[in-house]
Subunit: 368 residues, 5 copies
């Protein structure tokens, strides 16, 4: 109950935020997420083949702020990681310092933004969703914006997740390709990490389907139907968040933007293959969840059939017998059978005969 | 009842209007809406980076009329807003003064026109639907035509809505991009306001789906099924009105019409993204409303199952007991059990045994 | 019954006609319609900006025949209207005189021909279906072939319908664009009239859907299901006849045939828009008719639910009561309750208690 | 039963033949049909505008064989008709003599080959299915390969069918276009005859649908459901055999192979139109067969409803009456009503009252 | 039960492997299959038109390893067959020696890789699934990677299957085309063998459908529904594995990679035709399995109908009769019929009349 209310409230909030935005000019930087009032933090990882430096920066210190902006002009690769998007003023200032188009800055904090990859002359702007299941096992989409500039990748996200930890480790370890490659490879690596994470989500969905399938066969109950519906909605939601990725990556591969090297496109092709696989899997899950519902309905019918058979057998057997008993309970002056010596036993015989006959009849019909 | 009749009458009127148009030449200016006999009013907003003027004009005053037409040749941006489309003569005269193709003028007053964007040599003509829910919570589509000319945007609508108020404010405030941009940006801003408004409609539909879902789980009744059907029809209707927008905008982006600057195309791309999101959401709503119906049917079956179980349990238990009572109600001369001292109590024992046995049987079958 | 037979016979005839055609060379002029043995009549409307002449011609008078053919070489626009297609010899002769390809002549009399627009070097050949409801309210498709040549439009149809009357009036009235435009505009006007007429058919279908919807909610009966099926088949049929038109017109717009002026393409674009709208509407009707069936089935289930509830309530209440009466109808020598002074009334009390208890139980279950 | 077994056996055979082919090189000439061990026969029709010769040839006579091959170099049109494909050696030798690619020869005897048109430098190879209903009214697909070479058309089929008789007659009659046209026109004529034949199949399916529809409305029985399923499978099968033809012909029209003259392409366009119509019709049949099943299920529910109503009415009326009779069958010492003079008649009155009341109740519910 | 657990465990393992890979750089060579710890073996078949040599090589002997690598530079065709992919180190070393891109090496051991064909400058890398049914009749997909280089084909698979035996035989036999063709033809032959094998899988599915169909008609039981669901999932799985092949081959045909000769493209076109046929067949199977479920549900309804009829007939006949018996079991002082001499027989007469009347009624309704 409480949860439902919570959802309703969140929806309400979303609408009012959306409404607040209506009438505003496009490019207005309005944070749409749920984590209002949180401060932003910035960490920078600067590296090249030989060197590696990590910086934690205080965004409200003007000197630090200038330092952040300065990173974009260093020849080493800079991975600038902004956590916390609710401080609209800071984000706008930062975006302007990086010469981002106002539309890009708007999308960076619009946590409802559909996945997108926009190519601008001097940078590539992208938005993706990182999916995970929260503590209530409900699916949550975390908005992340990644901007690829020359020698610099700017990441804006709401929470510091652990999806990118693997990349951080690879950079630290110095082994591996990533240290000798350009910013576009880092961009790809981030995208690849997000896509890899989708497979975990799919596995989770798959497990749910398997459990529900088991339940549908064993104990079809209305709650199961409700859970199937929830599953269907979950798959629809995941699809909306993930589906566009494939085409976006495909278009990026076909584009001739100078920031993407031919070598990195080879890797992007690999990422696109994974997206294709994810989309196909989602399609399969969609069909399987529809099958589940069908199966559920057919099992409900089966249960009813079973109930009806019990009723029919009981009624068909005992109603005629009761009739016979009723006949010999009549009070006519003259009913010859009543005075036979063994009349009562004859009647029992008749009733047993009918009983057995009907049992055989139902047996033949395979109802027993 | 009354409402139904009303609808029927409206439909009737629509047909007769459509019929009135048949046989007429294409390009005949025939108003198709419901607000016949209303006068048109015109207001003009003229602005450039430094100046801003507002004019209310009397369309039936020839001098004023000439003034309206003159606006299109001023170097500042003119937003000419025509409210009320039923005065076909005025609209036709106005359209001719602006050198619009007769087909465009026809579409401007054809309130049944599907969304369109037509490019002509010296102007771009477009028709969209503004959607809102009226006082009866019924979905209404308001026809709006927007014509982009050099330095001029001509808007023709039936009612002065508040969807464009935000834009008016932005122009008045002087802050913001809009004052320094051309007429094509104004055109985009209007389109963007219309699309933004669609999100409100979608939220409304979403709320309806959530409410119906709750009802389907709690109290599936025939009226709920009817409401689901209404919802499905509503989604179909919204889709027809909104669906074409995405492709229209996409084609506008790809076109090379000189009235659309490269800069504005960046913004149009953003609008197209929103249209795509709206179309995807509508698709999701469509699937969800179909799921609702499925869920409703499965719940009906469940209810019937429950009814059948009660009947089966009651009948299966009491019919055999009644039979036993019937047996000892028979009037045979010789029924030995009747004369046993505790016969009556033995029979009660037997009946209680059968009763308990059947209860256990049904318990095992999980019917209780 | 009779009607059904009629349909069967017609189908039979169609097959045999189709069969008659098999083995024949393509281009064989074989009339496929139902109006065999009727004579053809020809009327010609010749006009230019200043003049207008109407001619009724006797096709079996060689002189007249030559006159018909001569019209195609006059510089004024000639609209040659041939009514009645069953006289294959005449049609073939006429077609040859106009230098039509044998395949075109074949299609002109093949009343089963799917809509088509074929471009030849010196003419454009097209076939459409005019739809209307006959006196039995059954949907009928009337085949019409329109040939656009230089300054001449040749129309071949089975019956003189009134769809083209509006155009005739516009030509007579001298007002309007049509008198100053070329034969391609006349061609467009005819096509536009046909498409406009489709809207009337759609309105008719819409009315049927509304009526059936009402019935499904009020009195779901097997006949309603049958009518829904008929509706579905009707929509499928209409779709087959209308659906190809959009693409045909679209291809005509894209073609560079010299007979179609750039100006007329603007009008054709309008006609294409209408076709698109029609196709979308048909799609909506298709989904709505499928929803109707779903609704019907869910209502049938509801009705059964109601029936079952009545049965369950009656049986569940009276079967236990009858059991109690049966117990005290037993003839045991010793049944102590029978000899209580108010035993009979105690039993009545017990039975009323059970009765009321069960009523409350069913009330709580919301079955009453 | 026997038939089923037969099918199973055939399937078995097909698999083993398929298996036999596995591991073999592509281009291996392996006959896949059911008519093993039959001899091949060859008849040749050689004609030009003035002359016509028919030859029956013994393929196992080397002289004759050389004669067959020689026909391909004569300037007149040669229609070489090979009946019987099970003699793999002969077919391979023939194919090699005609310089066919091994892949073509393989496809010529692979009776499971999907329709195809392959263009080679010096010939066009095509495979189609001729459909007919055999003596058991089961749909059979007859494989036919047609090879278009310069001045020569080579036809390979399993059985001498009568689909091509019309063409033979047209060639014999000397009237008609065919005698003055090239080998490509003959190729088209054969294709056209095959496509024309599809219409007969469709009519047959249509008749089946009409009959089943009647049955579904009148007497829905399990066998009807089974027949609907058979129909669905039949439509699916036909679709697989016919569906690709349209695209193949379309590609042939777009190709620039020198063997196809521009003039013949006009005729091929006509054939493509017919294929389109067939595909659309099949789509309609598919939807109609799905509707039939839906209708069947809804009628089953209706029947059950009717059964339930009878039960409910009978039980609801007589169970309360039996209860009353039971009450006055009790043996209490003191039941005052029993001693009323007209007690028995009062009770009858009460029972008639209840009876009539319930009848009215059911009448009101429209269950009677 | 055990099996289910097994599946769950396998799924678990897959996830953990997938998880192990997350965070790793793309191009990390991580074996994803179930056969960990197995050693790799390599056999090489080297041949040209005249010569043929077979080699079994020990991959852990450095000399042998160098020999393997040397094969790729010999002018004869080398078919290098690697069995066992779990030794990641060896595979990586081998791949590097052959100058394969790290992404290719990764995909070679990623047994979950979706079918792909990637073109690199100096080689073509492809992954396919070989499908077969294991001893439990469960569908298993065996991963196989085929790399086409100049004069060399490198095959990496988990198990030595017998799908390629036919090709080995053809090479050994020296007859046939394969010995005189290049490495690209060998590549095609391997692909063709894999596709041919798909037909066997399809036949197996077809047999399952036929068996289930029979069962659905004869004995619809819940287990049948479950088996239909399993079938549907199987078809979905097969489709995922096979579906992409067609497009991959099609793209290969269109590509201009120098390793694929024009002659081989002719053969690839044949392989593409087969893929198309397989995809169409899968589509048909999908529709048939959905029909099966529909049929199952309709048969369940029929069974219920039959049950209901028995109940209705029994209850409708005996309940009224029991009522009559009840009436004459009442103990009123004055019931005139009781004292008629033949009252008892009259009542029997009445009851028999009612019995026969109801029988006729049900007969008329065709319920008997």
């Amino acid at each position: 109950m409480n949860k439902k209310k919570g959802t309703a409230k969140t929806t309400q909030k979303k609408i009012s935020r959306r409404a607040a935005k209506m009438g505003k000019a496009p490019g207005s930087v309005i944070y749409m997420g749920d984590r209002e009032g949180e401060k932003s933090t910035v960490s920078v990882l600067e590296y090249n083949e030989r060197q590696l430096e990590e910086h934690e920066l205080d965004v409200y210190n003007p000197e630090h702020f200038n330092k952040i902006v300065a990173f974009k002009d260093t020849p080493s690769i800079s991975w600038i990681d902004v956590i916390g998007l609710s401080d609209e003023l800071f984000i706008e200032k930062l975006g302007n310092s990086f010469n981002l188009n106002p539309l890009s800055i708007e999308d960076a904090v619009n946590t409802h933004q559909r996945p997108k990859i926009d190519e601008y002359e001097n940078y590539i702007f992208s938005v993706f969703n990182m999916l995970y299941f929260d503590e209530n096992n409900e699916l949550v989409a975390e908005h992340v914006a990644i901007v690829l500039m020359e020698n610099t990748v700017l990441v804006l996200q709401e929470l510091k997740g652990d999806v990118f930890n693997g990349i951080r480790n690879r950079i630290n370890n110095k082994t591996g390709r990533i240290r000798v490659k350009g910013a576009d490879y880092l961009f790809f690596a981030l995208l690849d990490a997000i896509i890899d994470n989708y497979f975990v989500i799919l596995e989770n969905v798959n497990t749910k389907i398997e459990i529900l399938e088991e339940e549908v066969y064993q104990h079809p109950r209305p709650e199961i139907a409700q859970q199937i519906q929830e599953l269907k909605k979950e798959v629809l939601k995941i699809r909306r968040w993930i589906y566009p990725v494939k085409e976006l990556v495909s278009r990026l591969i076909d584009s001739e933007h100078p920031l993407i090297s031919k070598d990195t496109k080879l890797f992007l092709r690999d990422a696109m293959d994974h997206s294709t696989e994810i989309n196909e899997t989602l399609q399969v899950y969609r069909e399987m969840s529809m099958s589940l519902m069908e199966m559920y309905i057919s099992n409900i019918s089966n249960k009813m059939n079973e109930v009806m058979k019990v009723l029919t057998i009981m009624a068909s057997i005992f109603i005629p017998l009761t009739f016979i008993a009723g006949v010999y309970g009549m009070n006519f002056d003259y009913i010859p059978e009543l005075h036979l010596q063994y009349g009562y036993f004859y009647v029992w015989g008749l009733m047993i005969l009918i009983f057995v006959g009907l049992l055989i009849f139902f047996k033949r019909k395979r109802w027993l």
